[in-house]
Chain length 217, copies 2
DNA sequence: GTCTATACTTGGATAGAC
DNA sequence: GTCTATCCAAGTATAGAC
């Protein structure tokens, strides 16, 4: 929103800051990354989207790079909470694929993964960015490996691949699907693939019954 | 090579041009994309790597964007020949995974896919680039779908996924693996994954014998 | 905290000498 | 074809008024 005339409503000072200029800048950065990419996400472009002055980027964040990382943090933590909750409610492989598909669609539509992809792709351009991005991707990899480990533990698939390998492949596939969807501006193939995964997960579950609850050894 | 003192050897004029200033600029662009990313691949940086003057980028290619696309073309066509030949020599699924692994390793080491990834990622930053990149990725998708179709035709897997779906997933996985490998500067996980795929392909082949040559119905 | 103004840098692109 | 010199636009970052 434009500064002149329209005041933003300010939340509690300690809050997760989706309000206030700092929050607006972070949100604008996410939008910019999604729509015009890393190269297009300049201080001026971001400030324009946030409806404030370019200088405030440097007042609040010190540099554009820092703001970019703040945006990555914001998306990353918000989404991880969402994923964590969803995966908690999914006991087996089949349910896991179900929730993964649902949230992936959210991500794809909201452009959250686009932010990830832009930052990873741009990591080689901006010196020092690589390490920072890597650190922020790490929790995702750990999270994925954990989810795979838990829902694959009892399945026959566990004898075909290690959880870490599978997790690495899943993260890579995730990123790749986003790249293609973004390039084509078409999410259909990615979603169709999830539908197929759902079918296959059901098939695997039928072949190897889920060992309902394992207790008292 | 530096212009002062060292002259480049010039090949036949009509050749695929890895020699001459034009060729040197294309090669330098590939290097730059790989090492400093799209944002770092400026006319000055490219010319420096090619050992010539910045103005020559515009003399020979008109704009930096055109040169970037020329570099993408160069890598894309060269690699496609390589892939095509390799896949031709691979009759079944197992052999296909074998050659795919081998060439993927080449690509990963030489940074060819990095060029693809940088261009796809940067497509949203530079207006009009998206369509051009899309057109240059299209043959890869067709190629992959074709290879999948041919080597999956007889296999039981063909009843679980359509070739187009599988091809889309493979291309996405390919791009994603490159992103992660580039981010970590570590190709080991991607290569381990191919080893695993090789095992699994062997397993599938053992379960469903390849129907050696299908002729005379 | 926010805005205006400005210094400084880098990069795309062109003109003209050789 | 290549190089030097230069223009112009856009971006980062800072200083200072309000």
């Amino acid at each position: 929103m434009a500064r002149a005339g329209t005041k933003r409503v300010v939340g509690k000072p300690g809050a997760t800051d989706t309000e206030g200029t700092k929050g607006a800048l972070v949100a604008a950065t996410v939008d910019a990354l999604r729509e015009v990419g890393l190269a297009g996400a300049s201080a001026r472009e971001i400030a324009r989207r946030a409806g404030c002055n370019q200088g405030l980027v440097f007042y609040h964040f010190g540099s554009v790079t820092t703001l970019l990382l703040a945006a990555l943090d914001s998306v990353s933590t918000a989404r991880r909470v969402r994923y964590h909750d969803a995966v908690d409610g999914a006991p087996g492989l089949s349910e896991l694929v179900d929730v993964a598909a649902a949230i992936f669609e959210e991500d794809l539509n909201a452009g959250y993964i686009a932010v990830l992809v832009e930052m990873i792709g741009g990591a080689s351009s901006i010196p020092g960015l690589g390490a920072e991005v890597r650190a922020r991707i790490a929790p995702w990899r750990a999270f994925t490996a954990d989810a795979v480990r838990r829902s694959l533990g009892e399945s026959p698939l566990a004898h075909l691949v290690t959880p870490d390998e599978l997790a690495h492949a899943i993260v890579a596939l995730y990123l790749g699907l986003e790249m293609l969807a973004h390039l084509d501006d078409d999410r259909a193939p990615a979603l169709a693939l999830f539908d197929r995964a759902r079918q296959l997960a059901g098939l695997v579950a039928a072949l190897a019954p889920p060992a309902p609850t394992k207790e008292s050894p």
